[in-house]
């Protein structure tokens, strides 16, 4: 211990403290600060780049999944559109059929009605003509018959008999 104390040189201690502190300060300013900040910057850069790559990867995944979703949606839409179109077509066809049916029925009914009325008119016309003809015939017959007395009387009798029948 005594030897240690004897070996202790105050001058060397003084210079060491002074020079070492100066060295710390100088190195701090000119070396450690720029070195550590450069290393930190580089590490930050690497970290950021990695994070950005990860982000890009995620985005890419999102994009592909989005695309798939869109495709699926489009497919579903097409399907539904087709289905709708088919339904519309079916409806139109059935509607048209129904309409044609009713229209046809109506036409047939009208035709029938016309036919009926025509028939009636025709029958009435025939009746008229027949009546006219019969009147004419009767006239002719009467004219013929009235030319002789006997026949006139008989006719009157027949006619009277006819009225009774009616």
């Amino acid at each position: 211990m005594e030897k240690l104390i004897e070996d202790f040189s105050l001058g060397l201690f003084f210079w060491q403290t002074l020079l070492f502190m100066a060295l710390v300060l100088l190195l701090w300013k000119y070396a450690w600060k720029p070195i550590l900040s450069a290393i930190n910057d580089r590490e930050e850069g690497i970290k950021n780049a990695l994070a950005a790559a990860e982000e890009a990867k995620k985005e890419m995944q999102n994009l592909t999944s989005d695309n798939e979703k869109l495709l699926k949606e489009a497919r579903a839409e097409r399907e539904s559109l087709l289905k709708e179109a088919r339904e519309i077509k079916d409806k139109i066809v059935t509607d048209a059929k129904e309409l044609a049916q009713t229209e046809g029925d109506k036409l047939i009914k009208q035709a029938q009605a016309t036919i009926e009325s025509e028939k009636k008119a025709a029958v009435a016309d025939i009746k008229n003509q027949v009546a006219q003809l019969s009147v004419e015939i009767a006239e002719k017959v009467i004219k013929e018959q009235l030319s002789n007395k006997e026949k006139q009387l008989k006719l009157v009798d027949d006619m009277l008999g006819d009225i009774k029948l009616n």
């Binding site: 240690l4 070996d7 202790f8 040189s9 105050l10 001058g11 060397l12 201690f13 003084f14 210079w15 060491q16 403290t17 020079l19 070492f20 502190m21 100066a22 060295l23 710390v24 300060l25 100088l26 190195l27 701090w28 000119y30 070396a31 450690w32 600060k33 720029p34 070195i35 550590l36 450069a38 290393i39 910057d41 580089r42 850069g45």
Partner: protein, 370 residues
């Protein structure tokens, strides 16, 4: 040792070393010189472990018999009733009296004493010099190495910092090697012990202290032979900084932990007898923590240097090629371990400092867990 080339190289190297020792043996071989060599090695190691006032790289005995030193002098700065500055070359490696103005100084075991003109040093009963010691603020070998290391760190890490700006956030050049270490200190030392929220303000100190200790430890292993981190003054300065930062940034929770460790778990009258023992222990703890830091680093580096230098010295003592090559191999192995220890001690100092900062910056919600 799977590489045969490496084994061959190693073998040739060891044999070559032993041969040179053989050659030396021819010159000096008596028992007397052996004990002389022993004390010389011992003194050399002691000298090496200490700080020095001049930057000597090696010394040799010239053909004229005089000892020559290769290296360069460093400035001597003394406070002796005024500033005294002169070059350490005036001491001639402790052999002569340096004169500055009216004052005379002499080196004795690496320390400067004020003497008279002839350089007389008076010793007391314990062989300690009793002369006046002026305050010594000299730029010694250690201070020089601190300056060089600091300059190197500024160059290296300043360059690294600039390369980020130039290359768009990517390191280039030599600094690239240090980036993973900086990241390790940030992630596995600072964030792990202090936490994500507060680690940033401690980072400059932790990074500086780690690289400072590591580099100086490594310099200590080079043939420059500087023992900076194995100097008690250096480790004390570092530990005091850790101590100051720990206690100056201490939160309310930290101080509450110190002086009221039991909290509301028991009534106040029950706590009194416990606290008579607990609080002194806790308070002692704040001083023991940095003290253990300074002793650990000092002892490890000092011991490493002593072991390596002793083993190298042993080569010259054995004077036979089996023992010498053996101690060379041992010195080589220890050197490899020392390289690891250099890093390990820097890591431990940084890690424990961070741990203490972690205690100091503890927040309340974290303390609830105790």
């Amino acid at each position: 040792m799977r590489n045969p080339l490496l084994v061959k190289f190693f073998l040739v190297f060891t044999i070559f070393f032993s041969m040179t020792i053989f050659a030396k043996e021819a010159e000096i071989s008596s028992e007397e010189t052996k004990t002389d060599l022993k004390t010389e090695i011992d003194e050399y190691i002691q000298h090496h472990l200490k700080d020095s006032h001049d930057f000597s790289l090696f010394s040799y005995t010239g053909s004229d018999g005089a000892e020559h030193h290769a290296g360069f002098p460093l400035p001597i700065i003394l406070w002796d009733d005024g500033l005294v500055v002169f070059s350490s070359s005036k001491f001639h490696h402790g052999e002569e009296v340096a004169t500055s103005g009216e004052n005379h100084y002499k080196l004795d075991h690496g320390k400067i004493y004020k003497t008279d003109a002839t350089g007389t040093i008076n010793y007391d009963a314990d062989h300690h010099a009793s002369n006046i010691k002026p305050l010594d603020f000299s730029i010694t070998k250690s201070v020089m190495m601190i300056l060089i290391t600091g300059f190197l760190m500024l160059l290296l890490f300043g360059g690294l910092a600039r390369s980020y700006a130039k290359n768009g956030g990517i390191a280039k050049g030599v600094g690239r090697f240090f980036e993973p270490i900086i990241l390790y200190i940030r992630d596995d030392i600072a964030i792990a012990t202090i936490g994500e929220k507060k680690y940033q303000k401690y980072m400059p100190f932790l990074l500086t202290i780690f690289f400072f200790i590591w580099f100086l430890n490594m310099f200590g292993l080079t043939p420059l032979g500087v023992n900076v981190t194995g100097n008690i003054a250096i480790t004390t300065a570092l530990a005091i900084l850790t101590f100051l930062i720990t206690n100056l940034t201490g939160t309310k929770t930290y101080w509450k932990h110190l002086f009221d460790p039991l909290g509301d778990s028991m009534p106040w009258y029950a706590k009194i007898p416990l606290y008579i023992i607990l609080i002194p222990i806790e308070v002692l703890g704040i001083f023991i923590k940095p003290f253990s830091l300074l002793i650990r680093l000092y002892a490890n580096m000092q011991a490493g240097h002593i072991v390596i230098m002793s083993l190298i010295g042993l080569m010259f003592l054995f004077k036979n090629w089996i023992g010498s090559s053996l101690s060379f191999g041992l010195a080589f192995a220890i050197s490899l371990i020392e390289i690891l220890v250099a890093l390990l001690q820097a890591y431990i100092f940084t890690m424990l400092s961070a741990l203490y900062f972690g205690f100091a910056s503890e927040e309340h919600e974290h303390a609830e867990a105790h």
